[in-house]
């Protein structure tokens, strides 16, 4: 093996392993041992790509979770779900714009048009405190996004989508896709087509030295906000599952997903609960959008970019399966990241662009209902 070729780096590594064994540090020993076999950079890259995949998978899973909730309860294929993700992101933009309403100091040297420097009122009035409030606009916008997205979700379901419950899936797709385009154009008319920078708070704008934590070396860093996003996605997913699993409301919803008619015959207004579930799915998509803004400066088209992939995630996970959607989201995110590694692309050029669809084809061939799909869902 070339790693034993006696380079200074390898000698140092074996020295480290010996010292780990002697000091009884098993975790660090494992990391050093793997490094010895695979080389420094490969381990670093694998760890980083795993994190990238989990991060990306978190976004896919959150959107796919909402899509599956809606499909599983209401039987609607909601092509406007990406637009809900985008609306969430624009909640963050709106809060930022609100917090940075400014006094405009005109640049007198410019005469052909109005050029000015903006000084936010919050900074003028509250000084350093105002600056901190503006800095935290993304986390603050979560507070706005929850009620706004709930109202938007309920309005969308009650105002339009409920009229299409008894229509074909093709008609549902057409109407929700049309709705998505209308929402996009409204956002574009108000905010323009360019992405809008929406940074994370300064304190988490940089990178965490995860290499030091994992014993991989100080060169391995990962953005704080992406780690926060990953934790956030996990909390939201667990929250939704707990809500469905451990509350009476959730139990009724799950029962309704299994057999809507029987639940109705028991005198439960399942439709009303399903409407609330639509609102909940909208909130989940919206929060995913809010939290994603520091990673991807939002623009009016961002929802559509995620929607196609999220549908693949739902199909791979199994139509109507919440666990399947989450599992498939993370699986495809991770595969997409690993497929983008230079080492992989040098063997299979262009694999990073098709991996998701390739895996989807294979999974659907082997398991036509998807990873955790249930019999009878969307089969008639």
């Amino acid at each position: 093996m070339t790693v034993f070729a006696g380079s200074v780096k390898t000698d140092r590594l074996w020295g480290l392993i010996l010292s780990d064994v002697l000091t009884g540090s098993l975790g660090v020993f494992a990391a050093d041992l793997t490094n010895a076999f695979f080389g420094w950079s490969v381990m670093d890259t694998l760890a980083l790509q795993l994190l990238n995949g989990l991060d990306k998978g978190g976004a896919y899973a959150l959107i796919a979770l909402g899509l599956t909730l809606i499909f599983g309860t209401l039987g609607v294929v909601n092509f406007a779900h990406g637009a809900l993700f985008m609306l969430g992101a624009f909640c963050a933009v709106s809060v930022q714009k609100l917090l940075t309403i400014s006094v405009k100091v005109k640049d007198e040297s410019i005469t052909f048009f109005e050029a000015y420097k903006e000084v936010p009122y919050l900074e003028t009035w509250f000084g350093e405190t105002g600056t901190v409030i503006i800095d935290y606009s993304v986390p603050i916008s979560i507070l706005l996004a929850i009620p706004v997205m709930l109202v938007i979700g309920l309005a969308m379901e009650r105002g339009l989508i409920q009229r299409f419950y008894k229509r074909t899936h093709a008609e549902q797709i057409l109407v929700t896709f049309g709705l998505a385009i209308v929402i996009q154009e409204l956002v574009k008319a108000n905010f323009g087509a360019n992405p809008i920078p929406t940074p994370a708070p300064e304190i988490v704008a940089g990178s965490a030295s995860i290499g030091d934590w994992l014993g991989l070396g100080s060169a391995v860093v990962y953005p704080w906000w992406r780690l926060i996003y990953l934790a956030f996605a996990a909390v939201v997913i667990l929250g939704v599952f707990s809500f469905l699993q451990f509350t009476t409301f959730g139990m009724v919803v799950r029962a309704g997903m299994q057999d809507r008619e029987t639940v109705g015959l028991l005198g439960i207004d399942i439709q009303r609960r399903f409407s609330v579930v639509f609102g909940l799915a909208a909130v989940v998509a919206g929060l995913a959008g809010v939290m994603y803004t520091p990673i991807l400066p939002p623009d009016y088209h961002m929802g559509m970019d995620f929607l196609v992939l999220s549908f693949v995630v739902v199909v791979v996970g199994g139509m109507g399966s919440l666990g399947g959607a989450v599992a498939a989201g993370f699986l495809l995110g991770i595969l997409q990241s690993f497929a983008s590694m230079n080492e992989v692309k040098s063997i299979l050029p262009g694999i990073d662009q098709i991996i998701i669809y390739l895996v989807a084809v294979v999974i659907l061939l082997v398991r036509p209902r998807g990873l955790l799909g249930r019999k009878g869902v969307m089969e008639n």
């Binding site: 052909f112 050029a115 983008s340």
Partner: protein, 447 residues
Amino acid sequence: MDEIKKGVSRRGVLKGGTALAAGLAAPTFFMRHAFGADFRNNPGDSSSVTFGFNVPQTGAYADEGADELRAYKLAIKHINGEGDGGLLNTMQPLSLKGDGILGKKAAYVTGDTQTKSDAARASAKRMIEKDGVIMYSGGSSSGVAIAQQSLAQEMGIVFMNGLTHSNDTTGKDKRRYGFRHFFNAYMSGAALGPVLEAEMGKERSAYHLTADYTWGWTQEESIKNTTEGLGWQTANAVKTPLGAGDFSQYITPVLNSGADVLILNHYGKDMINSLTQAVQFGLRDKQVNGKDFQIVVPLYSRLMAQGAGENIKGIFGTTNWNWSLQDAGSQAFVKSFGQEYGFPPSQAAHTCYVQTLLYANACQMAGTFYPPEVIKALEGFEFDGMGNGKTLYRAEDHQCFKDVLVVKGNDNPSSQFDLLEVVQEVPRSQVEYDASIFGGELGPYEA
């Protein structure tokens, strides 16, 4: 039997009529090739002539497309003698008189390219076949520009490229019916090289992330040639899919690559996203090989720079033109555009405006709308007063040669538009090259 016919005979009418018809037709018959009486969308006796402005009105470049459209409309106004005249006041030599083109008023139709080649071609074809445009123009993607340029050659209608920066546009994919005023990737490299050397030294290792299409490929090639010429190493060059959104999986390998410069061959939304994410990964705070890690964005756009926010500060790149230039032409354009719309024009707006005026002026110079004659008028045309100093429309490849701006993200902007600081105005002579290096054939004058 003598038959004396008095008055007008049938034979006489026919003879006379034939002679008269021949006489009337004579100028156009003898001068047919000069004035092109018979060519596609000949405006003939019409009181107006129509241009087609095919820009992205939807999709990621819609804002840039909207700015291009504003510039086109302004150009039409100025050609027709409305408004303050804009660059008609500064352009030299000038044949236009501010009363339209060859006595006809300029009109326009618009189309949406959606920044997709097939959509752009379909829209352009509709303009040519249905709206009867004599020239069409537009930009924001080299792939789209090259597709439209090919159509122009097939249809015999001149295409004046808007924003397109690939070397291929006036290189291997050049066409007789296509013209580019905008600079290209080679010029970006040639202009940027000395500044990078002065700012970052000769011992550097660069990692390229490149948009996987014609523009990205040629820019990577040109910048690599430049930096390797300076003595820099190329650690790696990785192609990224267009519109990837999340670039994290392409950025993380940079961390351990040993590179100390990241070159982002991305434009528009890709540039905003990759730059934002590269900064989040701490690349700008990193020290590698005992040097501060640097990021370079070879092609800058002020409109797009807005999307990257604070992240662009101090980052070097090039641009075709900037509203802060102080020459008479630039100031005249900024004044017209600013007073009309309330904000400064983008580089895309500038090139589109100039292209429209140049085409109109070429028709006036040629005395006809007949494309081969208009093309000949544009080929080798040297002009001034349009911003960027003295400019040549080189005949061999239809590429304009003019000064190029090296810019960097402004550390301390004085206004919301003051995002780019001009570091250097690189003279035309420094960015010129032999037309043959990129190959390609212009094709025939007669389509």
